[in-house]
């Protein structure tokens, strides 16, 4: 579905502020995957994903969406953007319409859909992000910051893209709210088989929802593997300024004190199970 070949992106090339944000990245993402991207601040995550829906074009290398290169002459960029839906980092500022309903309908309308289909999509995506019917006729400027975030996410969900990219969608949301939204997105991912790419600074979130994790460091891919394999490399993650989920740390600590838990434990359920199993083996003295 998505394919990147030797992709490099440089901001303001040849200027005094030249900055290569993404360097020689090769990557492939297929439908049905739930990919988590983690990386230190400034490691190029946002830059990378903006190339996936042709908002920016690689300085060198190629990005293919459904076998169409975004740099190709005459490539239909709008089409690509409808296929690859991107929720930008802090997307609240994209709201502009008179009502929340109209704002969520902006994307589907641009796609040229019919009135009834738009209505269905707006209501479905509003419900998915937890925006109640009673809010739909309100102005997007008189709701709270968290609600704005949800409306902005709904605006992209309503386009029903084949690949959904979320750039730190839950930064600044309350803990219950973030779990709610991410759970709903995972449910949708399971039902519809779309691909989801989630950027997050929360190792817990990534560990919990993704079935593949990409680690970015200084514009390059430092690792690309399953969560089990990624979180087994505690030292590598810490050397590039990342950490591991709490439960992984607990398991590590126990191992250092003489337990033999499997490495790469990253979710609470498995963690609890493995720890209990290990403790039962220990005879109280």
């Amino acid at each position: 579905m998505l394919k990147l070949e030797n992709v490099t992106y440089t901001y303001q090339p040849n200027g005094p502020f030249e900055k290569t944000a993404v360097r020689d990245v090769n990557l492939q993402v297929e439908l049905g995957e739930f990919v988590g991207i983690i990386g230190h601040t400034g490691s190029g995550k946002s830059t990378l994903i903006q190339m996936l829906n042709a908002l920016i074009k690689p300085t060198s290398g190629k990005v293919f969406v459904d076998n169409v290169a975004t740099t190709e002459k005459g490539a239909n960029l709008r089409d690509i953007r409808f296929k690859v839906g991107l929720v930008m980092q802090y997307p609240e500022y994209q709201l502009f319409e008179e009502t929340i309903y109209k704002d969520i309908a902006f994307g589907p309308k641009n796609m040229g859909l019919g009135e009834s289909e738009i209505d269905r999509r707006v209501r479905a995506s509003a419900q998915l992000v937890g925006i109640g019917e009673e809010l739909l006729e309100k102005s997007p400027f008189e709701i709270s910051g968290g609600q704005k975030r949800r409306v902005a996410i709904a605006g992209v969900l309503a386009m029903e893209p084949k690949v959904l990219i979320l750039d730190e969608p839950t930064a600044g949301l309350d803990p219950i709210g973030r779990e709610e939204i991410l759970c709903k997105i995972r449910d949708m991912h399971r039902e519809t088989g779309i691909a989801v790419i989630l950027i997050s600074h929360s190792m817990e979130d990534v560990a919990r929802y993704a079935n593949r994790i990409i680690v970015m460091n200084k514009g390059q891919i430092a690792a690309d593997d399953t969560p089990d394999a990624i979180f087994a490399q505690v030292e590598m993650l810490e050397s590039i300024g990342l950490s591991v989920p709490q439960i992984t740390k607990i398991a590590e600590g126990l191992n250092r004190r003489g337990f033999a838990l499997p490495s790469g434990i990253h979710d609470l359920q498995t963690g609890k199970f493995e720890i209990l199993k290990a403790i039962e083996g220990v005879k109280p003295c």
């Binding site: 908002l55 953007r81 991107l86 930008m88 502009f96 902006f106 605006g155």
Partner: protein, 275 residues
Amino acid sequence: MLRDITLGQYFPAESVIHRLDPRVKIMLTLAYIVVIFLIRNFVGYGVLFVATAFIVWLSKVPPKFMLKGLRPLLFFILLTAILNLFMTDGHEIFRLGFIRITYEGIIGAAFMVLRITFLIVASSLLTLTTTPIRLTDGLERLLNPFKKIGLPAHELAMMMTIALRFIPTLLEETDKIMKAQSARGSDFESRNVLRRAKAMIPILVPLFISAFRRADELATAMECRCYRGGEGRTRLNALKMTELDMHAIMFMILFVVLIVGANRVTWEIIWPIFY
């Protein structure tokens, strides 16, 4: 694309031009601009070119970078040249229907292009080598004497500082909003002018809202830190004139003398050199 405009940008480097006192730099730039309009012949422009090239070399700003700043204004420069070329009366040398080109027209057009080019180079050189903060500091100090006649020098300078400070922020914000709306299918590349104009609304609304919000927040933040205008305010980095500034002023005087001299050079003086 919005970032290609270099006019008004700062180019960080270590050079004598960067180190000059901003007050001196502003005054010298003004003097330079006056001189541009005093020049009466090509000899003068030759002197101007050499002097300017020397200053650009001293400033360590790559000439390519300077010339990039001319590009957005190319259309304007060409337009003035064409207007001058066709609209000047004088000795006719060529005629095609109602179009006539005169000797005075050619000279006038050439002078106009040279003047505008040097004008832009000089003003970009000022902003390229002076941080906005130092620039407004210098301006404030230069306007200080006019406070007595009621000119709010400090407030003007503060307004300028804030405006300059927020230009990149607003550009960045515009960029971000444009991206977010493109991701939802806004069509900025459409051939249809009406559709393109309509695509501006989803950009302008959030842009204005965030600009107002920012202004509000900045005002609050300034008040929280007890800002109350210029009265009794001291500076962290007081401006000081150095020997370097004296050299610059001397260079300028020499330059003016040379230009005045060049103005006296006429064809009658140049002819005998060649024959």
